[in-house]
């Protein structure tokens, strides 16, 4: 997984609540058996005026000029500012894959859906939760100032605005550690292989019906 330490980047505002993972990456693109290449179809139904299909050359598709990511001032954005309950719905990990592949490193919102939250951190995408009032203020600042950038520092858990204001955020220690070091958590879990084996033996002894070979013996 990609490491994340700190990023300083252009902010794009997506002003809607409950952005679901179907909207982030529509189902027809989930047919891929790879982890990459989803960026071109990120927010496909909002971004283009026609219906997209997998494997298509998107360079000549009609763009929706009203969609924020199509506006010239937000080209190259790496920080997505959005509203509450971002990432709700389907568990598709293609959602963070698409956001990352497009170029986002950070999403800032008042709240995130649980499964999306897990998936993002496993792919080096930092999710920053800030209070609703702060988000309202950031939206106003982004819209008022072309070229608005934020500095996001994971180590110190703070976001710094262009005026020097510091916004602190919470992130749990394990996720932070994995992200800062780009760690694969399967490797970390397998350090506990012995503990898992001991647990498994006890679990089987206590509830043998949970294991097929002993359930119907």
């Amino acid at each position: 997984m990609n490491k994340f330490e700190r990023t300083e980047g252009l902010v794009a505002p997506l002003d809607r609540a409950n952005v679901d993972t179907d909207l982030i990456i529509p189902k027809q693109f989930l047919k891929s058996i790879k982890r990459t290449g989803f960026g071109i179809n990120l927010f496909d139904e909002l971004r283009y005026l026609d219906e997209g299909y997998p494997g298509q050359d998107c360079t000549h598709r009609p763009l929706n000029p009203d969609f924020v990511l199509n506006q010239p001032r937000y080209q190259g954005a790496s920080v997505l500012l959005t509203r509450r309950n971002f990432g709700c719905g389907s568990s598709r990990e293609h959602a963070p894959w698409a956001l990352e592949d497009f170029g986002f490193r950070v999403v800032i919102a008042p709240s995130f859906a649980d499964i999306f939250y897990n998936n993002a951190f496993k792919n080096g995408l930092l999710l920053v939760t800030l209070p609703e009032e702060t988000i309202d203020r950031l939206f106003a600042e982004v819209e008022a100032n072309e070229g608005y950038r934020l500095d996001v520092d994971l180590e110190n858990q703070r976001v710094t605005t262009p005026s020097g204001e510091i916004l602190e955020f919470e992130v749990d220690d394990f996720r932070k550690h994995c992200l800062l070091n780009g760690l694969d958590d399967i490797g970390i879990t397998l350090q506990d292989e012995e503990a898992i084996r001991v647990f498994e033996a006890k679990h089987r002894a206590a509830r043998p019906w949970l294991f097929r070979d002993t359930a119907q013996a």
Binding site: A17, P26, K31, N85, D185, F211, R212
Partner: protein
């Protein structure tokens, strides 16, 4: 001292290790796999040279991409006309062979939607931890199993380690007390719950559904309720074990037998929240007040009763909510204050992991019997949740009731719930759907989904617009 909730008990029974940083390793008893969210997980194992930790914990079946027409299904994988879908299904088959995982392939009579197949086989048992790379894994909580929808990285993690990295959730109890009215089903109950607590109301919680109306539901109904816990933001939905649970599981193929069955049943009886357990949040609904529900918007929380009307965004005081309502009405092509019964439909879909089990089909057939689908309906389809549900329905003659009324009777799969196969809505089409999500584009580009119960969907197919199924059932 406060007692334990059902969730607390399941958590502690599977806790391998707690770390100082608040994360924990929990042991996973069952993983269900399908073609969409597993290929990258298997590829990850291959690249790292890892093997699955425990083969018999896994069970796979293709469901999202499979065609549902009889003709295409007769050809097996070769009947999948979309080459990208075909590769995905073929990849699941290949991975299951390579890694030694049991799979119900496309034309195995046991194939179906993972969340229908697991319980039907007894592969989901009370007291288990169940995971699947699909958010509707919450379904299995109806059996007092701790069931999580997970992402693909987690699928790989569970394959490799038999564990999930998790953080303990908070406990919420949603109690539905009293008796449901005639024609009011589990689907209406869960839509009413989502309407009450909102699509993020359960975020961070494991929701236990309880109360006399929940206890009165069949296992099929309980699965419908738990299935949509995720639509209220909760990864986990749970219902305590009782005789209904145990009766359902007896003699299922994967269920324990003989002495093991006796021991299991004795153990399962403890899978209830203690009377003295304390929940972080409690929500109570009066069953008698729940009427058949219809969603009008683009989030499952945008729902109302059949006697209701589409809300007026101008009356919303919260800015974010107001703009969300405005956008939803525009997408759905509905006017403020429009009566729900005035919404005309183009298509009707009865199926999905929410509502494709035998009881769902019986409820829909009861309404459709002897009637005809309205001429204005372009397509009304019934997609059973599994090959075994299909056979059972055919043995009961339900297929004939549907086809005589003008419904298409299809082969099992996820179908138009998310339209990864050829079953989809056209732009602007309104669909009465028994599925779980009314998100923009979910059932097809520009498609307009209204979430309802199977009985309400069948009634809408016959009328051509939404009608109160209670009026039909009483007539």
């Amino acid at each position: 001292m406060a007692g334990q909730t059902l969730y607390d008990k399941l958590w502690s029974q599977h806790l391998v290790k707690e770390r100082d940083d608040g994360t924990a390793l929990i042991y996973i008893d069952r993983q269900l796999l399908h073609e969409v969210t597993s290929p990258q997980a298997f590829e990850g194992l291959r690249l790292a040279g890892r093997k699955p930790w425990r083969l018999d914990a896994n069970l796979a079946t293709p469901d999202h991409n499979v065609p549902t027409t009889v003709k295409e299904r007769a050809e097996g994988n070769a009947g999948i006309k979309d080459p990208v879908s075909l590769i995905q299904v073929q990849t699941l088959d290949d991975n299951c062979v390579e890694f030694g995982i049991e799979e119900f392939k496309i034309n195995d009579p046991r194939q179906g939607i993972v969340h229908v197949v697991g319980p039907e086989q007894g592969a989901t048992l009370p007291g288990m931890t169940v995971v699947c790379g699909d958010s509707h894994t919450a379904t299995h909580g109806a059996f007092a199993a701790l069931a999580h929808g997970i992402g693909t990285s987690e699928v790989e993690h569970v394959l490799a380690t038999q564990c999930l990295l998790a953080q303990k959730m908070k406990n919420m109890q949603v109690r539905v007390e009293g008796e449901l009215g005639t024609g009011v089903t589990a689907k209406d109950v869960v839509l009413a719950i989502i309407g009450r607590i909102g699509t993020a109301g359960g975020t961070g919680y494991a929701i236990e559904f309880a109360g006399s109306a929940i206890q009165g539901l069949s296992m099929e109904g309980r699965m419908t309720v738990c299935n949509m816990a995720i639509e209220a933001g909760a990864r986990v939905g749970l219902i305590a074990v009782d005789d209904t649970t145990i009766d359902y599981l007896a003699e299922r193929p994967f269920a324990p037998t003989g002495e093991q069955w006796q021991a299991a049943v004795a153990d399962w009886c403890g899978l209830v929240s203690d009377d003295s357990a304390e929940f972080d949040k409690v929500v109570v609904l009066d069953a008698a007040e729940i009427e058949p529900q219809v969603s009008w918007g683009t989030s499952p929380e945008m729902v109302t009763g059949i006697s209701g009307e589409v809300p007026d965004p101008a009356e919303q005081t919260d800015d974010t909510l107001r703009s969300g309502y405005t956008r939803a009405l525009q997408y759905m092509g509905l006017a403020p204050r429009q009566k729900i019964t005035d919404i005309r439909l183009d298509k009707v879909f009865i199926g999905s992991c929410t509502n494709s089990r035998i009881e769902d089909l019986r409820e829909a057939a009861k309404v459709a019997r002897g009637k005809k689908v309205a001429d204005s309906i372009k397509l009304a389809m019934v997609v059973p949740g599994s090959g075994l549900v299909k056979r059972m329905a055919e043995a009961e003659g339900l297929d004939r009731i549907f086809t005589e009324a003008g419904f298409e009777w299809r082969e099992p799969g996820c179908s138009m719930c998310l339209a990864m196969n050829a079953d989809k809505l056209g732009a602007g089409e309104h669909c009465a759907s028994t599925s779980n999500r009314n998100f923009e584009g979910r059932q097809g580009y520009g498609g307009r989904t209204h979430l309802v119960s199977p009985a309400m969907a069948a009634a809408a197919a016959i009328a051509g617009h939404f009608v109160d199924v209670r009026a039909i059932e009483e007539a």
